[in-house]
Amino acid sequence: MKLVVAATPVRRPLIRIAVGAWLMVTGSLALAVDALPAPEGRVVLTVTGNIDVTNTDDGRSAEFDLEMLSALPQHAFDTETPWTEGRHLYRGVLVRDLLKRVGARGDSVRATALNDYHHDIEMDELRQEPFLLATHRDGVSLTVRQKGPVWIMLPLSDKPEYSRKRYIDMLVWHLTTLNVK
């Protein structure tokens, strides 16, 4: 189940609002032109490579703290995963929205984790499938122990196809960097 929620953190995850996803598209178009402020909190995600919008001194990457990520259009779904028990509601910004926000141009994106695991995902795939940069589970932000602070997620329970190894491998946890190539 997919739902679009407001930019504020969801406190009652059980309220599932089925609203059309198109709302976000208009939102992100407006955001794309804005300059990106520098992060105030601890950086949880860095985007590097072919991007137009940066916020670092060297002008080569865009850094996000949790607050900045939460300020972007939020998307949520609940799903089971092969690494957790039961269904949980995952929330965060869609990869495609984030990439749009930083004006990413390229064929693929390398997602790298804190433990130096990495996986390359085709840009087309990122655009077509609802890859989520999950920062919250059941309304609470993900810790490192919970495979946070950012975990790439797909609504596995909604589409059996996502449970294939190909997609499962893309669900990088402890995500720290996205490198647009």
């Binding site: 690494w83 957790t84 433990n115 490192v144 122990r145 190894k165």
Partner: protein, 632 residues
Amino acid sequence: MQRFRLCFLVAVALIFGASSLYSYNRDMQVVSHVSSTIKAIGWASSELELELLKFDLALTGLAADMVETEEVELRFNLLWSRVDTLLVGEENRPVREQPGVLPMLESFKAQLALWEEPIYSLSSDDDATIAAILQGLSEYRAMAREINVDTFEGESVWRQLDFIQDIRHRSNLYLVGLMLSGLAMLVLLLRENRRNWRLAYQDLLTGLPNRVSFYDQIAKELEQAARQQSKFALYMIDLNGFKAINDSLGHEVGDRMLQEVAKRLADTIGQQGLAARLGGDEFVVLQRLSTHEGPESMAALLWQSLSREVEMVDGNLTPQASIGISLYPDHGETKKALLSNADMAMYHAKQSSGTSVQLFEFGLNEPRLRRQKLALELEVAIEHDHLELHYQPIFDLEGDALESVEALLRWNSLEFGVINPLELIEVAEKHGLAPRLNRWVLLTACRQLQRWHLAGATMLKVNVNISPSIFKGDQLIPTIREALASASLEASALVLEITEDTTLWDTAGSLDTLQELRALGVEIALDDFGTGYSSFSHLRHLPFDKLKLDKSFIDDLASDPRAVSLIRTIIALAESLDMVVTAEGIEVEQQRTLLNELGCHLGQGYLMARPMPVDVMEHLLFGRFSYDHRPV
């Protein structure tokens, strides 16, 4: 229908092939899934070892002031997360299920929880704490290493890999097996289909098209001929005396003969038409004719081809065939008409001596048609009493007294008028109506006689003609009993007239019947004596009561002294054998006088009385005046 079947077969084959491939792919998918699961488990497990090492390194680095506490915390959390990954969720269930893994993970998780507080309050100076944690960690490192090696390098992994390899092999074999069996199934189905088709449309003995197939073919030919205004000839071919060959030489010889005939017919007609076997020894050939072509030359060719000797194991046979021909459109425009007309011509050819090929002509079928119609009408007539008996008196030549009457069958057919009794008998015999006709005559005559007995003519007898074929059957005695019983008539009042027929008298059964009739009290007269072939030995052996002299003897009586002597001798002979002689066909007074003088007791003929219907007969019997029995 054929097309539908083919489509069905193709569909079955496609479904079979698709499911085979699908199931093969499923197998392969499962195998690859299992393999990748094993790889993933290996990965997860080795990652644990790696995180342990990294945490170890971070702690060591902290002690050496080379690493920040944040890095240690991060490594601690990543290790925690890794342990959770192995403890929770479906993906790593197989790892947990390995012996010893779950207890180790749980105890390690508990240890991590115990370390949590020290770790978060750690500084680079806490050498003792760091050493203690490193000490504790080394145990788990050793355990993780051991499990890693056991689970993913040990024998069980090889077994699993072998097993997977085995599944791959077997899947390949299954696929090949499935494909082969599917192919075999398809081939068998097609063959069965073909066989069924052959059974339905081909004559198995000769390989020619069979009746059903020929009917289809001729329908097509008719359509085509009608469209193109062309003509064709049908040759109906029947072997003469084939039954005798089958009966005397055996079915093998018969079959061989049929095969040879079939081959010759097919060869002779070639591309000009087709040959088929309708059944038994009946063949038919269809020949497409051009505008000015007649059937004569092909008929001759066919006949000649059949007249050549057929080589058999025990000698040669020469088939003789009768061929009947009908032409489209001259002799009919339907399958039925053409076949029936060719058949008719063939029968005509068969029955007439000297002709073996007969072209159909209108009129050919009239006698046969008449007989068929008569048979149908006769059946109804017997049922509804539309037949009639006339009676001809037989007189005592001495005293002019009426001794008996001969019942004679008369039939006025609605369609054909008065029917000659001989034709009537022939029709009855040919169409199996003789027993019923015989029964009708006996019942009617007996009942009529009983009425006359009751009216006063108590001494009168009735003569009924019985044909030899009835005599040979086993229904005669029961029918006579029934007739006598139904009329409450004395058996002695019934005289059966039986024509002489040597084949009849030479069979033992006939003699038994005759004895039984005598025992019953019925009188028996030998009819038409002198025309047949009865020998004197018959007269000696067979228990006749009466002997009826044929009219041919009587005709010459007045003019031929030798006839007189012959009759005198016969009468003497009959008397000596206790038989009473009746003279038939007395037409002039002189004959009657002579016969009387010669000692002939009984006589009948136009001179005294013609056969007459019941009412005239009654007038004769019971007329108030002394009756005049001469013809009116």
